[in-house]
């Protein structure tokens, strides 16, 4: 596929997108450098970007930062994995057992909009400043993101195909394995992508508000130490990790759905 005259089209596309992304971030950095330098905000409360990045650089050389980052990613990964598995199983069961969807929809619609942050007092009482609190908040928030998508996905299974499978006496397991799962997979992956971002936000929130170990707790300590540049440095790091998380899940999505027309057409373009 690689042509002599340059990069393959897909790689060239990716490079262009990366270029735009970098330019956008660069613009933001310039803006953040200029605003305090020009005196538009007080430098003491919003230091210029160069100072923030220098602080981040110094922090990256400390073990504590990497331990904190590890804690955050651990809370994110475990919470997301638990919520994902629970939501997929629940969603498939609700979707294929007749009547269950109608029976549960009011409950789902009641529980879904409760913000995870509202569970902070409960998490504090049950687990205190520990991984448990993070998992509770992350799990609750990401569960609904995945569940709703799985429900849509199962509902999107072609009814003729479903009836055909039934009349060929495919077992329930075979129907799920060969019919429901492939049809629902794009929805499931969308749910995972949405949930991954939400899970990361909630992991940092739990650490920030409850004090469970991780990046959020580090931000809190920096804040109560009056270390303004360190606060911003950690926030920037959280943003960068967020980008990485999103990119990783997109990559996974492409791999898993490589056979799917939506992804295939995207590649061809």
């Amino acid at each position: 596929m690689i042509r002599r005259d340059g990069l393959p089209p897909r790689l060239r596309d990716g490079a262009a997108r990366l270029g735009y992304g970098a330019a956008g971030l660069g613009g933001l950095v310039l803006l953040m450098e200029a605003v305090p330098r020009l005196g538009l905000v007080d430098e003491r409360f919003l230091p210029p970007a160069s100072e923030i990045l220098a602080t981040l650089g110094a922090q990256l050389g400390t073990a504590e930062l990497w331990i904190a980052l590890g804690e955050t990613l651990r809370g994110w990964a475990i919470g997301l994995a638990l919520a994902f598995c629970a939501a997929v199983v629940t969603g498939v069961v609700i979707g294929i057992v007749p009547g269950l969807r109608a029976l549960t929809s009011s409950t789902v619609e009641f529980l879904r909009p409760i913000p995870s942050v509202a569970l902070v007092p409960l998490a504090t009482l049950l687990f205190g400043p520990s991984l448990g609190s993070t998992l509770m908040l992350v799990g609750y928030a990401s569960f609904w993101q995945v569940l709703i998508q799985v429900l849509y996905g199962v509902a999107a299974v072609d009814s003729v195909a479903f009836d055909t499978a039934r009349s060929y006496r495919l077992s329930a397991w075979s129907r799920v394995r060969h019919l429901v799962w492939p049809a629902a997979l794009p929805y499931v992956m969308t749910g995972l992508r949405l949930a991954a971002a939400v899970a990361f936000i909630l992991a940092v929130t739990a650490e920030l508000v409850i004090g469970s170990p991780g990046l959020g707790a580090e931000i809190q300590v920096a804040q109560s130490s009056g270390a303004v540049p360190a606060v911003y440095a950690l926030i920037v790091l959280a943003g960068l990790v967020g980008i990485a998380v999103n990119a990783a899940v997109r990559l996974l999505e492409r791999r898993v759905l490589a056979w799917h027309p939506a992804v295939r057409s995207e590649v061809a373009a």
């Binding site: 504090t124 400043p129 300590v221 130490s225 009056g226």
Partner: protein, 314 residues
């Protein structure tokens, strides 16, 4: 096969049961008792960090984990729910907890005011060009405190009253310490109450102290204390108390080592650490000052009724 399953299930049940039993300190393999202490990561709590580093807790066969908490309320709820065997909270938070009928009991002093005007770790500050010149002028103004109905508003009122002003008209606004300097700068409040490192930071940025509220309230104010709950066994409490008392005495005698240990658990800039006003760390609780705080809080309506401090501080 079935027997194997039963054994496995039994193992799982006992494993879970053992793991979730709250408040029961586990005995480590080395004969050390595992203790989890809920302690806010600020200047005030340097002694417990220093004492841990110096091995004062190991001497008492305690394997100490220090868990950073957000504040007094989190410390009290964490201790009461069994996450912490010991914790650190300010005097008013503990008095409030006691009044609410919570089973809290002080085991040692936490941190005390230096009692010296101009050299304490807590102050009320105004902008350089503010018309407020002294504590008396704070009457009727808008002042920020980190938590309403707590030790901040109680002692600020005491400052104003002692200076001959009328504290009833003061409007207290809740603002976290880190946000207070910006609020003062932008004129959202007339004055801010902060503790170190924000006192030194604000002063170095031009703010002017008008009252040293902890020093004003009484000459030797016990600001915060270490406490436990009824479920912690007496022997462990005795050992923890011995270790924390030794830590307090050591910290009080070694300010340079305190400044060093601050670099390990806070992110206070080194140049700020070098010049902040350190508090005092006497091992003894000044019970009279706790009673004063309680009485002031009752007078201001922060506490509902008079509290016998002996019930809290043995």
């Amino acid at each position: 096969m079935r027997r194997a399953l039963v054994v496995l299930a039994a193992l799982l049940v006992t494993a879970c049961g053992g793991g979730t039993q709250p408040g029961a300190p586990a005995q480590g393999g080395s004969g050390l008792t595992k203790v989890n202490a809920g302690v806010i990561a600020i200047v005030d709590t340097a002694p417990i960090h220093l004492g841990k580093a110096k091995g004062f807790f190991t001497e008492q066969r305690i394997d100490l984990t220090i868990t950073p908490v957000q504040g007094g309320a989190a410390a009290v709820s964490g201790a009461v729910s069994g996450q912490f065997q010991f914790a650190f909270a300010n005097t008013t938070s503990l008095l409030t907890a006691k009044q609410q009928g919570l089973d809290v009991k002080v085991v040692a002093n936490g941190v005390s005011s230096t009692g010296e005007q101009g050299k304490d770790f807590s102050a009320v500050l105004v902008k350089p060009d503010s018309p407020i010149r002294a504590a008396k002028d704070l009457a009727g103004r808008k002042i920020s405190v980190n938590q309403l109905r707590n030790i901040g508003d109680t002692t600020v009122r005491a400052s104003v009253r002692n200076a001959g002003g009328d504290p009833t008209g003061i409007e207290f606004v809740e603002l976290p310490f880190p946000d207070a300097p910006a609020a003062l700068q932008s004129g959202r409040v007339d004055a801010i109450w902060v503790v170190e490192p924000f006192v030194s930071q604000a002063i170095s940025q031009g703010a002017r102290p008008v009252a040293w509220n902890f020093a004003d309230a009484t000459s030797d104010l016990t600001v915060a204390m270490y406490f436990t709950t009824g479920r912690t066994d007496a022997d462990l409490t005795r050992r923890f108390t011995a270790a924390i008392r030794k830590s307090l005495e050591y910290a009080d005698a070694h300010p340079d080592e305190v400044r060093e240990v601050l670099k390990t658990y806070t992110k206070i800039a080194p140049d700020v650490i070098a010049k902040i006003y350190l508090p005092k760390w006497p091992a003894e609780v000044n019970k009279a000052s706790v009673q004063t705080t309680a009485d002031l809080a009752v007078a201001d309506g922060v506490l509902k009724e008079k509290i016998d401090v002996s019930a809290l501080v043995p």
